[in-house]
């Protein structure tokens, strides 16, 4: 297998997947949160009978529909790109990974698709209560969709509930419960959806702020803000809690990712948390250079956050690559040696089976089984390949946290001044509100970089590197499709923004 690897092609395939995922993640968080906000607004309409809530619901529903369409468009590509660009991956883990995608289709997509039509076109065709039920079903369906894709993603980060079948040369599911209730899947789902709720709340706040600054649709804007700020505030508390949980599971299950987003090269006990810093870009693992040109560190805090034990040891990148015997950390070099045995014995096993040599096959299988946990490491060429691009992950993480800390404050201030009914006089806050959705998008995108770039070089953590997971395509082929999708998605994004701007400028329907 190794001789077929084309690293240039792999990088273009990664770029194409990242492009699609990042475009997709521009629209999906908004769908996740806005669908619930629509349900809240419409519930208020049905409860109170106040037509203003209906007008508010219909206005945000219009924007939701535009966003939803482009989210669907980018989503279909993601599903099929697993096959087109990562066909070895599709075969090697399809037995496990395909299930959540199929379940997503059955339980989530049809719920969304069916009730979306009622929500959008059914105002005069079904009863008020059935319409409200449909709006709630769209919200539930959207978030169920997130659940299943994040179960799949969580499994990639922390593969559980499976075994390797050497005859088929693939991983097979043994326990679907372990896959669904994996701690990584649970924390990813909770963190991603709650951050989507926060983003949607800020989307509403941004547009409402603009109306208030312009002195237009003020009643609608204030009512919209009131619900969105409460939802955003609750969501942000959940984002913080689940973010802490995600970091903890990272520390336990993906320590290299944690070390990368903290820029921690040399493990320490106690380990300090870098609150901010400028990285030394010439720094390489094991070279003895200081990783930071400048840093502000909180002593001991990383030990507490990573292990929930003050003063505990947190391994750094150097410990994970080169090993740290005193703390029982096995280095990548040793894992590679064991992984190469696994790869060689798998080949021996298949050759012996083909030659009709059961004794040889059994011996090879025994040797393979003893080393199979390190299979993925057998495909690495150098121990340093096991580390992700540290500066990118470090900055993304710190941007996410810094911006993410500011966002609840914005929600709180909007809630306070709206409650006091003085929000339209707080020009400085409305100005900040204008920027809030862009800040939230920045945090969302940075979060995905942390999650996905942080686990490189693995497609499946420790078991399958991206170089093996890829399809057998030429670099030119993937380059071509990369630019095709870039042009298409960018065009559609410009069109979407253009439509949104026109609709926002037009405002809600008049009474």
């Amino acid at each position: 297998m190794l001789e077929q690897m084309d690293l240039t092609m792999v990088n273009w395939a990664r770029a194409q997947f990242a492009l699609t995922a990042m475009y997709h993640w521009l629209f999906v968080p908004l769908t996740l949160g806005l669908s619930f906000l629509l349900a809240f607004y419409e519930t208020l309409y049905v409860k109170t009978g106040n037509e203003e809530w209906k007008r508010i619901t219909k206005f945000w529903m219009g924007l939701f529909a535009i966003n939803f369409a482009i989210g669907v468009a980018t989503g279909i590509i993601l599903e099929f790109e697993f096959g087109t660009n990562w066909s070895n991956y599709s075969w090697m883990v399809g037995d496990i990974f395909g299930a959540p995608l199929a379940i997503e289709g059955i339980f989530a997509f049809f719920l969304e698709a069916t009730f979306f039509a009622v929500m959008f076109f059914g105002w005069d065709r079904v009863s008020k209560k059935f319409h409200l039920f449909s709006t709630w079903m769209v919200a539930v369906g959207s978030n169920l969709s997130a659940l299943w894709i994040l179960v799949a993603n969580g499994w990639m980060q922390h593969p559980v509930g499976m075994r390797f079948n050497p005859d088929a040369a693939r991983f097979e599911m043994q326990d679907i419960g372990a896959v669904i209730f994996s701690p990584v899947a649970v924390s990813k789902f909770a963190h991603a959806t709650s951050s989507g709720f926060l983003l949607a709340s800020l989307f509403v706040i941004t547009i409402s702020s603009w109306y208030l600054l312009k002195g237009r649709h003020q009643e609608m804007a204030k009512k919209s803000i009131l619900v969105a700020a409460v939802f955003g505030l609750f969501s942000s508390a959940f984002v913080g809690f689940t973010g802490d949980e995600a970091a903890y599971t990272n520390a336990q299950l993906q320590p290299m990712k944690l070390a990368a987003f903290e820029g921690l090269y040399d493990g320490a006990a106690p380990a300090g948390l870098v609150a901010m810093g400028v990285m030394n870009h010439s720094k390489q693992p094991g070279d003895g250079q200081d990783p930071f040109l400048f840093e502000v560190k909180v002593p001991g805090l990383l030990s507490l956050l990573a292990n929930r034990t003050p003063g505990s040891f947190v391994p750094g990148i150097n410990d994970l690559i080169y090993g740290n015997e005193s703390h029982g950390v096995m280095g990548v070099q040793e894992k590679m040696a064991r992984g190469k045995i696994a790869v060689a014995q798998l080949a021996n096993y298949k050759a012996a089976k083909k030659a009709g040599d059961p004794v040889g096959a059994q011996a090879a299988l025994t040797a393979f089984n003893a080393n199979q946990d390190y299979l993925g490491f057998g495909y690495l060429n150098r121990p340093e390949e096991a580390a992700p691009p540290v500066p990118l992950v470090f900055y993304s993480f710190h941007i996410m946290v810094a911006v993410g800390t500011l966002l609840p404050l914005i929600c709180l201030l909007f809630l306070y001044f709206t409650y006091k009914d003085t929000i339209d006089r707080q020009k400085w806050l409305l100005g900040l509100g204008l920027t809030s959705v862009f800040l939230a998008h920045l945090a969302e995108q940075a979060g995905w970089v942390v999650a996905e770039v942080g686990r490189q070089p693995w497609a499946i953590q420790n078991l399958l590197p991206v170089t093996v997971a890829r399809s057998n395509l030429t670099t030119a082929t993937v380059q071509t499709t990369f630019f095709m999708f870039l042009v298409l998605f960018t065009t559609l994004l410009i069109a979407e923004i253009g439509i949104m701007v026109k609709q926002i400028n037009h405002g809600p329907e008049e009474n």
Binding site: Q4, A69, S90, G98, A99, I106, N472, T477
Partner: protein
């Protein structure tokens, strides 16, 4: 319940589920057919009629789209080797198909909105491309279930494609082209019937009845050619004793007759579509979509079914016959198929709420009154 079935029974069950999803998808391509009728029908004679047609289709497009996504997900879960081999190998044909579906997904929502960058006509053209080229290529891809594809697999089941067009070459095989054209004309028949059922405008109804009839005339030669080829071509058969693939004369004649009900249901499906077209053309029936729909599901189900059952390779390799995929060597494990079978028990519930909502939404046909009463902005 499912856990007690042996692996081959689960594999056959899942090929049946895939076949059913395939048949349902073909029925739901009435959306794509309607999209092409909008440009080359013509079923709508003025702007108001066009708006009604696009709004009628716009309330259903997501069902078709979602069924396609589910079909992909089900293939991934149940037959991952096919997913890996076909998508990773026949790269360009799948990218082209997906491209047309991206265009469809935004076109309904964007086409008439101010500030949409490209203008209404461009989005309408996108819908036409999805309904014509998209379906033509899907048909060509389905055709390769019978004619084979240019791939080989290594010992680790990694695919190598042996043609520079990477799957697009399938669109130059006469059988595959006929399959693609059949899908396009069938979708147009179904689209015309759906619109005549869903819109209460005399012109649209009359035009749709005629469009269904004309497209039936165009589809018939494709159906007859495909049938002639199917009953005369060699099929890629699996020897259960040796596990080897070999070319068997009249393989699909055998498959059509094992069980005998296959021929009856396949032919019955075709006759139901024909009946639906005739009652629309000569009696102006607005309910012909239901006959044609059931007929399409029957035909589609059995077309997929004969491709994979009775020890037949459903994705033959033209490069190395022994690399051909069968439902037995391409499937997921016993555990996964069992788990997914329990999940599939939810499908009747899903179908039930889709039918309920469809009936609730379509209880009253769309008419020109909708244009007068409602705010035009909410229309596509």
């Amino acid at each position: 319940m499912f856990g007690s079935l042996d692996l081959s029974q689960l594999q056959e069950l899942w090929w049946g589920i895939i076949s059913l999803l395939g048949g349902l998808f073909l029925f739901l391509t009435f959306v794509q057919g309607g999209q092409t009728l909008l440009m080359f029908g013509p079923v709508a004679e003025n702007e108001n009629e066009r708006i009604l047609v696009i709004n009628s289709l716009g309330r259903k497009w997501e069902l078709t789209f979602t069924t396609l996504v589910l079909l992909g997900g089900a293939l991934f879960a149940a037959f991952p080797k096919f997913y890996a081999t076909s998508f990773g190998g026949a790269y360009w044909v799948w990218v082209a198909i997906l491209f047309t579906f991206i265009l469809q997904a935004v076109s309904y929502e964007f086409r008439r909105k101010p500030g949409n960058l490209l203008g209404t006509r461009v989005y309408d053209f996108f819908l036409f491309i999805n309904g014509s080229l998209g379906l033509l290529l899907i048909g060509a891809a389905i055709g390769t279930f019978f004619t084979g594809a240019n791939f080989s697999l290594n010992a680790y089941n990694q695919v190598t494609w042996h043609h520079p067009l990477r799957g697009l070459e399938a669109a130059f095989d006469p059988f595959n082209v006929a399959m693609g054209l059949m899908l396009v004309f069938l979708a147009r028949i179904l689209g015309a019937m759906y619109l005549s059922n869903n819109i209460k405008v005399h012109n649209i109804h009359a035009n749709c009845c005629m469009a269904a009839y004309k497209n039936m005339l165009l589809m018939m030669p494709c159906v007859f050619y495909i049938m002639y080829q199917l009953v005369t071509m060699q099929g890629f058969a699996l020897s259960p004793e040796t596990g080897l693939i070999w070319q068997q004369n009249y393989k699909y004649v055998y498959n059509l007759n094992h069980p005998m009900s296959t021929t009856i249901m396949f032919t019955g499906g075709f006759l139901l579509i024909l009946w639906a077209v005739l009652i629309a053309r000569y009696y102006g029936s607005r309910n012909s979509i239901w006959y044609a729909g059931i007929g399409t599901v029957m035909m589609g189900f059995h077309l997929f079914f004969i491709a994979g059952t009775n020890n037949t390779s459903f994705y033959p390799s033209k490069i190395n016959m022994q690399d051909s995929l069968t439902i037995y060597n391409a499937s997921s494990s016993h555990y996964t198929l069992t788990a997914m079978s329990y999940v599939a028990l939810a499908v009747p519930l899903v179908l039930a709420y889709i039918i309920y909502v469809w009936r609730a939404m379509d209880a009253v046909q769309l008419s020109e009154d909708d244009l007068k009463d409602a705010d035009l902005k909410k229309f596509y």
